[in-house]
């Protein structure tokens, strides 16, 4: 009997040894192609991978040759969505859609540093794209800006290779109008997912809503151009980018009434309305905030929430709460409609959305420690002096009163000895911000002289002459007194001590830069 027990025990042990080695890897799937693939909400501990395609899972790992952790995806708003959790901060991960055990090493992303920490390489490298969505812009069935977004991207890549050591982008911020003309799902595909596929599978996209995300609206073309039919009354035309609605459900892609699925932007992107990425929960994906290491970023909604008094007030109060809680080194705010601009046909003295954003929000930015504000909408580059307290129209601007001055009493340029200090040397507090309009990542405005008496649809004499913006050397190509009409994008670098912003043109040249030090 004793022998039998010993024999059974030995058999059991043998079986255990042969059948229970380490658990088999769950990553035995096939790498599967996707139609669109992008990242959302990459934090210190989590990330979202979204795609369109057959695959229903993703495998990840810290080596491209050994992916060992599998996450299943589910369909959310027409996209496969995998929520990755339990990640390590500031760590590089590789992934394979479809759940294979190895991957092409270019399918990779790096998690955010712990809040408050600087990334291991000492710098958060941020790329900003305003009004880049022109690849899908059409008129009369003809594409009007083919390849322009691509050359701006190439300009950035050249700059990055030549002057930034090919540092990977940590954050990609969109300034609105990133899918012309109506922001349909197909336009997002053509103007965004097909233009930046390699970049957006490695870095999270953080967008904001522009007027061209919000479909088509009506316009009386007679106001623009008189013609015989106008004698009988207005001639209405549905035109992309002129919706004045505060309701995302009113999204209308072609002028025949609201579309079934609502606003495509809100289906495509998965944004942290509940504070998932470190901001105060806003309760709406239309505006949100997040932390990335020592940088706090806020995306406001100047297109929808800004059009309704109650919603604008709620957004403003939320911003105050969010900024009051924020103690990170740097704060960046993005939204579409510029608070100061004399862009061609986008005048912040005239457009109500711009006036409302300036009057309601600029005082909050200055009082609550915002460093940089980025807008798009006008297809040129304008960058302000280091400002405080200018909340009226352009003719109320006074450099002596509203701008940080240099030793000569002129507005400081923010370079070299005139670098800006986060705690302003003039006031002794962090009460100033720089406002940049950078809406030329897909096209740049060109002068269109006005005919006698014409005030609309042509270049007015004050084009790019907003006095709150820095001046430019008139010999630079495309330069106007207070702006540059050139295609390009913006790169921001945030270290522990400096926040640097550069405007990069399509050739990879830096046309403007400034530094804030702390």
């Amino acid at each position: 009997m004793k022998n039998l027990i010993q024999l059974l025990a030995a058999l059991a042990l043998l079986q255990a040894c042969t059948t229970a080695p380490s658990a088999p890897s769950p990553c035995t799937g096939q790498s599967t192609p996707t139609e669109r693939l992008f990242l959302q909400q990459v934090t210190a501990t989590s990330a979202i991978i979204r795609w369109r395609g057959e695959a229903a899972s993703v495998c990840i790992g810290q080596s491209a040759d050994s992916l060992t952790q599998r996450f299943d995806a589910s369909t959310v708003n027409g996209h496969m969505t995998a929520q990755l959790t339990g990640l390590q901060a500031d760590t590089r991960y590789f992934y394979a859609i479809g759940g294979a055990g190895t991957t092409d090493p270019s399918f990779t992303f790096t998690t955010a540093p712990e809040p408050g920490q600087v990334p291991a390489d000492g710098n958060t490298h941020i790329w900003l794209l305003g009004d880049s969505g022109t690849q899908t812009e059409q008129f009369m069935g003809r594409f009007t800006h083919p390849g322009e977004a691509e050359i701006v991207k190439q300009g950035f890549l050249k700059y990055n290779a030549d002057q930034a050591d090919n540092e990977p982008v940590d954050l990609l911020l969109l300034l609105g109008d990133n899918a012309y003309l109506e922001g349909t799902d197909a336009q997002w595909q053509g103007a965004y997912f097909d233009i930046y596929p390699k970049i957006i599978r490695s870095v999270a996209t953080w967008p904001t809503i522009g007027n061209h995300e919000m479909g088509a609206g009506p316009l009386d073309v007679c106001l623009f151009r008189p013609m015989p039919q106008c004698e009988e009354g207005p001639v209405m035309m549905a035109v992309g980018g002129i919706s004045e609605s505060a309701d995302p459900a009113s999204y209308d892609s072609n002028g025949d009434g609201p579309d079934e699925g609502g606003l495509p932007y809100l289906s495509i992107f998965d944004l942290p309305s509940r504070g998932e990425a470190g901001g105060v929960p806003s309760g709406t994906e239309q505006y949100y905030a997040f932390d990335y290491g020592n940088v706090h970023v806020v995306s406001l909604d100047s297109q929808l929430s800004n059009r309704d008094d109650a919603q604008r007030r709620a957004m403003r109060d939320w911003l105050v709460d969010d900024l009051s809680r924020n103690t990170l080194d740097w704060t960046i705010v993005i939204f579409h409609h510029p608070v100061y601009s004399k862009g061609e046909n986008h005048d912040s003295d005239v457009e109500q959305a711009e006036i409302d954003m300036r009057e309601t929000f600029a005082p909050v930015f200055e009082d609550y420690g915002v460093d940089l504000v980025f807008n798009g909408h006008a297809h040129s580059y304008e960058r302000s002096w280091y400002l405080h307290g200018h909340h009226g129209k352009s003719d109320t601007f006074s450099a002596a009163q509203h701008a940080e001055l240099n030793a000569d009493g002129d507005p400081a340029i923010g370079q070299g000895e005139e670098s800006y200090q986060q705690i302003s040397s003039g006031s002794g507090k962090d009460d100033k911000a720089i406002y940049t309009v950078a809406g030329s990542a897909g096209k740049a405005d060109e002068p269109h002289p006005c005919k006698e008496g014409q005030r609309l649809g042509c270049t007015l004499p004050d084009w790019l002459m907003h006095p709150a913006h820095r001046t430019f050397d008139p010999t630079v190509s495309g330069a106007r007194p207070h702006g540059i009409a050139r295609r390009g994008s913006v790169v921001v670098d945030a270290t522990a001590k400096t926040l640097t912003s550069r405007f990069i043109d399509e050739h990879g040249e830096v046309l403007d830069w400034f530094v804030i030090e702390r």
């Binding site: 109650a310 009051s324 609309l456």
Partner: protein
């Protein structure tokens, strides 16, 4: 007019993008479409909607009258309501919106607009019923919508239902500071100090016990007779603020905290 110009210049921007102004073919095509309109109620309605949104109210009225002749006139109610609201004639908007809701009872746009029209016309009870229906059917209610509706209820003295609505909003949208703040204020007004304190503690977590939060929370603690706790909350906030980079908001807050702390000796109520 300014709003219209804003919209206009967006078009001009796009037209510039094309590199040239629209040519005659566009207008010919457009006119053809307009010629097809007179027989169809929906096309007339569509054009009326376009007219209203671009400020051509007299023309919209003509299209709506024509549309009403071409079918069930109740179908024109939404646009007639929006037309009246565009003219700031909120009371006149109610009847057509009601017509429309008879045929489309769950339309969120009509419900929200009738709620607003009734609010502005002083028909608060009916306005509230519309908000209630709106929140039942809307897929994307915004924080501002909940606050507007709760403010309406509260103004009529219905504080309890206002609180219930805010709680509903907090469930739908997730915990969110603006709705929580209003709920705290209402709880306090109803004398429910412990409920207000509980909410305020939740808000404190959301706001990482920011100085601004500390001031409100301290007031609640004082009202609840918790003088020592009040003092601790204020001191912690002051000490935290002193170590933060000075901003105008933080300096103002610090002054308010110091002032509140200096009132320590004051006798506590109750």
């Amino acid at each position: 007019m300014i709003r219209l110009l804003g919209g206009l210049s967006a078009l001009l921007l796009s037209l510039h993008g094309y590199g040239h102004a629209p040519d005659e073919t566009t207008f010919a095509r457009l006119s053809k479409l307009m010629e097809a309109a007179p027989d169809s109620q929906s096309l007339n309605l569509q054009r009326a909607a376009l007219q209203i949104r671009s400020g051509h109210l007299a023309e919209a009225e003509q299209d709506l009258a024509q549309a009403a002749r071409l079918g069930d006139s109740r179908q024109t109610g939404l646009q007639r309501g929006l037309l009246a609201m565009a003219r700031s004639d909120h009371h006149m908007a109610i009847a057509p919106l009601t017509d429309y809701l008879l045929v489309h009872p769950d339309d969120p746009t009509a419900l929200l607009n009738r709620a607003r029209a009734r609010t502005r016309s002083g028909e608060t009870e009916a306005a509230w019923r519309d908000y209630e229906a709106f929140f039942r059917v809307s897929s994307q209610p915004q924080p501002g919508d909940y606050i507007a509706a709760a403010t309406l209820l509260d103004a009529t003295g219905d504080t309890e239902p206002a609180l219930n609505l805010l709680d509903e909003g907090l469930t739908t949208l997730g915990k969110q500071p603006q709705l929580l703040r209003m709920a705290i204020e209402l709880d306090q007004r109803l004398g429910r100090l412990s409920a207000a304190l509980e909410r305020s503690s939740a808000l404190g977590v959301l706001l990482r016990h920011s100085g601004d939060w500390a001031l409100t929370h301290a007031r609640l603690l004082a009202a609840n007779g918790q003088g020592d706790e009040r003092q601790q909350v204020l001191e912690r906030a002051r000490n935290q603020l002193r170590n933060l980079r000075p901003t105008p908001a933080r300096q103002a807050l610090l002054a308010r905290l110091e002032q509140a702390l200096s009132r320590r000796a004051a006798p506590l109520p109750g």
